[in-house]
Amino acid sequence: MVFKPREDISIVFSGQAGQGLQTLEALLTRMLKRSGYNVFSYSEYMSRIRGGNNSTQVRVSSRRVTAYTRRIDLFVPLHENAMERFHDRITQETVILGDRDFIEERYLDGHHPVLEVPINEIAREKGGAVYANTVLLGILAGLFYVDSDLMHNEIRMILSGLGEDRLRKNLDASDEGYERSKKLLKPGQAAVSIERTAEVRDEILTDGINAVGLGGLAGGCTFVSSYPMSPSTGVLVFFTKKAESSGVVVEQTEDEISAVNMAIGSWYAGGRALVTTSGGGYALMVEGLSLAGCIESPLVIHLGQRPGPATGLPTRTEQADLQFALYSGHGEFSRAILAPGTHEQGFSHTRHAFYLADKYQVPVFILTDQFFLERRYNLPDLDMSKMYDQRFIVQTRADYRRYALTESGISPRGIPGFGEGRVRVDSDEHDEDGFITEDFSTRTAMVNKRLKKLSGLQKEVLAPQLFGPDDYRNLVVCWGSSLHAVQEGLDMLGRDDTAILHYSQVYPLAEVTADYLERAHRKIVVESNATAQFARLIRSETGIGFDGAILKYSGLPLMPEDVCEGLNEKLGKKESTHGRV
């Protein structure tokens, strides 16, 4: 066996911006999934268009894999110095594959397994250096026993725009790579021992961008106004592609201020609008958030987090805008914050955000991050059974009052052009008709009305999910995109006295939170930020603190190894008094 027998292999390609890593990632993950492997991929890259050093991790596995791992089983350097940033992750078990020129001397000491293939020379023979990635694809297809017809099909699908000549050359290059892979093995030697599953072939392979975008369409989104900002731009591009077929107005605005005010304007006129942005862009939207709060406009905000402050690390990941989303906006009003952990939730929660926003006439956040949006993996299906089909818009009568006081705080929402009434909304304090008022008792009633909606939102909170034993001794709390690293990290640790509580809605906080926490002997929070923001939210809502926190804020995603090591240190030895055997 070339690799240690493992259920999953982590491949890392290390290249420069502009070398076509994204295409390679798309081709390889599709091809491997179509041949029955579970796949995962994630790219970490610098904020530049050419050069630097970027890497893509592709995990190929017998079981579902959804986390970014520190472990590298196969490392492929694609340029000089491509190994420099990975010295601490390349071990004597890491197989190094590629051009002799790109492998550092230190790894040619006989202690590291090396598979030398003159990828660039082969590419040049096949027509040019641009074919290096398809040579590599062919080598990997061979090592992973991918049917060569399937490989050809995928190349045709992804590279169809290249024209017949270049497509032909790509196919030839992949064939040559495929042949070469055979020579890398000794007679009778197998490369990998990963099982394939027939069902996986027809599963969905998606990143978080598509999950959020499709969830938006399922939620009835008809209007998107945004300003490009990594990592949220993908969602804007998604809707642009679907604008005509799915009936969505999509506009790239002059700034985020315009974006949020347009979105609110669209809701007023009967659209269902979403803005997609990141921290700095959202900062510009904050006055608009307060406007939505005051005029009781629905609003869906996709906030794809990246490390700040200010411009921070534009292409990296973090979960540090939770408190910002929670407390932003002057004045007091209700809101909800959803934080999907899986791509299934990326879909269902974005749809749910439209439902909540429309029903309660409040801003609703979908809080994701760069890792969530750009990681890709296969999953069986997206749940389309709970579709958003409720209409909360009413046809107005002549005596319509936009802010009629009700028990729930929700006034029937009319729109201009549908009915006899006048629809007046005002960012000044207003009376039930929407006219400006400075009447103190009306003011008090309106504040109460806007805050009362929180109790309705509280009743519909998406409950946190418990993974592991009900009679846990230790409880690990996480939210949003951290779920998979925590799950895999705990698996690595192998403790059966510890459970995970994952929140995909962080505000309002589920009322069961205190019950869960009080049952735990030790409580650990895991977050991708420096100040344990969710732990602070939980403490402020329940008065319960945590015994420890595993925090990551380097810009790289949380890894299972971070969690495993952190828990090992914080939980100490397993108590023998625990009831389980």
């Binding site: 179509r34 969905i204 009936g247 315009s258 304007g265 006129a269 009967g270 201009p416």
Partner: protein, 286 residues
């Protein structure tokens, strides 16, 4: 009583003699004379005394944030192209806080009317300079007089090739009404900058001053000549009143929205197309 009058008395927050009263009359007259159904007319305003105008006529309104009049107005029209959308605010709101939106709304060219009350001063905040305040004007903040060049909205709009640019004087209600009517019926973004005397905080640019410093363009003037329009917009001396520039045949923002090509229904009448959605989800399987 017109279609936009209330059947009861209303409390108006403006100073007696304010030019805003004249503009309110002109707007209501224009809507009545055009026989526009109040159920389909939406006003969008920001913050300031001018931005209160929609409170005082019986129509739909979206009274949003300071400076943010044009983005919601654009979105309302795009979400339901059957509505008549009028964005109405002051010079500070439109040209100061909202300057970026002003430029980009002109570029986008939504089929909306943008009425700007230009009184050359910030009134609601008690008399500071606005972007259009004349040089030398002394205020509680600009204590030695304004030194900056006043913003010229008409010239900027023509430079951006706006589809309709007009200037009116609130003191001439009839002319203002006619210009507003032309702006509303014009297809595309239409700017109507209205000189509006502020009787409390601007003792320089009074009714008399505006009368002396303006003149009306006569019938020989061709508003489709962009160079001539630019000369009119920038000439020293008296300000021309009337329709200064028209760019015909410019596609509107709504014209460019692909979703209306096959299906003219406004957004509120649409539902999720399950078949298309299922197809999109399944396309991720191959």
């Amino acid at each position: 009583m017109g279609a936009y009058d209330f059947d009861h008395a209303i409390d108006i927050a403006w100073c007696p003699g304010c030019g805003d009263f004249r503009i309110l009359t002109s707007v209501k007259d224009a809507l009545d004379e055009l026989e526009l159904d109040p159920r389909t007319v939406v006003f969008v305003s920001g913050i300031g005394q001018a931005a209160k105008t929609p409170q005082y006529l019986n129509a739909h309104y979206f009274n949003g944030l300071h400076g943010r009049t044009l983005p919601p107005a654009t979105a309302i029209k795009a979400s339901n192209p059957g509505l008549v959308v009028i964005a109405q605010s002051g010079d500070g709101d439109t040209y100061g806080e909202g300057g970026n939106h002003f430029m980009h709304a002109i570029r986008r060219n939504p089929d909306i009317t943008n009425i700007v009350h230009n009184n050359m001063v910030y009134a609601l905040t008690k008399g500071q300079a606005s972007p259009t305040t004349r040089q030398g004007f002394v205020t509680p903040v600009q204590v030695h007089g304004v030194t900056q060049e006043p913003f010229n909205p008409v010239a900027v709009a023509i430079a951006l090739d706006a589809s309709f640019v007009a200037r009116a004087f609130a003191g001439d209600t009839r002319q203002t009404t006619d210009i507003i009517k032309k702006a509303i019926t014009h297809k595309g973004y239409a700017l109507v900058d209205i000189f509006q005397p502020c009787v409390t905080y601007n003792k320089v640019n009074t009714y008399g001053w505006f009368k002396q410093n303006t003149y009306t363009l006569d019938d020989s003037y061709d508003p489709t000549d962009r160079e001539a329009a630019f000369r009119k917009a920038t000439e020293p001396g008296k300000f021309p009143l009337g329709v200064i520039y028209i760019k015909t045949g410019k596609p509107t923002f709504e014209d460019g929205l692909s979703l209306y090509r096959q299906d003219a229904r406004p957004l509120y009448q649409r539902t999720v197309d399950m078949e298309t959605l299922r197809g999109l989800v399944d396309s991720l399987r191959t």
